[in-house]
């Protein structure tokens, strides 16, 4: 009993620093980062560049920073310092890359415009402003006779 108590205390003392470190260090993960950063030489997100040598080195670099308790933003800053801003998986705001922002906006505006136009046309066809349909009673004699004849022919 006494021996197991001593062992328990010893275990707690040994584990304490790592528990404290874990509590102090809000670690991120490579998986969390690799879809937000690029493998610059492979020109694709790091998550897709599995075997490229540069991607492996970049992952090792990130792993080292995670080990040293760096936050996600700090790791991104360190990556920018090493590889430049293009390492972030965000399109540039100028040049052709700006189309990554412009195309969705234009497409969204086009879709909204189309829906609005279609709705307006549908309202015109079925809405309260549409003239009421004429009842049979409102038909003239000639029209009523033609209608009766047509109905007889169909019977």
């Amino acid at each position: 009993m006494r021996r197991s108590l001593v062992a328990l205390v010893a275990l707690a003392v040994l584990a304490a620093p790592s528990v404290v470190a874990a509590a102090r260090c809000q670690q991120t993960t490579i998986v969390d980062l690799e879809d937000e950063v690029m493998c610059p030489v492979c020109a694709m997100p790091l998550g897709l560049a599995r075997e490229a040598p540069q991607a492996r080195r970049e992952r090792a670099f990130i792993a080292g920073l995670i080990e040293s308790c760096r936050s996600k933003d700090e790791i991104k800053d360190a990556l920018v310092a090493e590889f430049g801003p293009a390492v972030l998986a965000e399109p540039a705001v100028g040049g052709f890359s700006a189309s990554a922002y412009v195309v969705p906006l234009v497409t969204g505006a086009g879709i909204l415009g189309g829906v609005a136009l279609a709705f307006a046309r549908w309202r015109r066809r079925t809405g309260p402003g549409r003239p009421p349909e004429r009842s049979v009673a409102a038909l003239g004699d000639a029209e009523r006779r033609a209608l009766e004849a047509e109905l007889d022919r169909m019977r």
């Binding site: 430049g84 052709f96 415009g113 189309g114 279609a118």
Partner: protein, 181 residues
């Protein structure tokens, strides 16, 4: 008469096609250096200024004007770069006496890895750091390693798109070392 929705769709599709065309044209590969060299010309080497590897100071390519420069683009993770570096070091020592230098440009690399690479291979030639590959793009570098030989007047005299070998170095560098600027 075209309906408004169809007209809108045509405009959107035409816009996307134009955008795609512009993207393809603006990102198309250029190989003006290779073409000029194949035509027997020596195009002017593009100017650049880069930080020295592991330091704050910067250096410009023009700082080596008057020397034959073997401009080597490399990265620490690149296997062929590892293989060719002892030869580049040998040639650097040889060229130094005759007014030439190897100038390494470490591209898109982790600085600590690059410094370890230099220590391991005991490289003594000057090293610059191109963190985002801008200078490499100026020289139309598509892979690593690539080496351009620049004459004493700052013109590109030869290019090797891949690792260099003794035959290339002898053929391209020795005549340039004998030229007087």
């Amino acid at each position: 008469m075209m309906r408004p929705l169809s007209a809108l769709a045509v405009v959107v599709v035409a816009g996307l096609v134009l955008l795609l065309g512009y993207g393809v044209l603006s990102n198309g590969p250029t190989s003006s250096i290779t073409r000029a060299l194949a035509a027997g010309e020596r195009p002017a080497a593009p100017a650049f200024e880069l930080p020295r590897l592991g330091g704050e100071a910067t250096a410009r390519l023009a700082d080596w004007r008057g020397k034959v420069v073997v401009l080597n683009f490399w990265a620490s993770w690149c296997g062929p770069c590892r293989e060719e570096s002892p030869m580049l070091e040998r040639w650097h020592r040889r060229m130094r006496r005759a007014g030439g230098t190897v100038l390494g440009v470490d591209v898109q690399d982790v600085t600590a890895d690059a410094r370890r690479f230099i220590r391991e291979h005991r490289l003594s030639y000057p090293m610059l750091r191109d963190r985002d590959g801008e200078s490499a793009a100026l020289f139309e570098v598509l892979g690593y390693p690539e080496t351009l030989v620049i004459d004493r007047e700052g013109r590109i005299a030869a290019a090797r798109r891949g690792p260099v070998d003794e035959e290339f170095m002898t053929r391209e560098i020795e005549p340039l070392l004998e030229e007087r600027g």
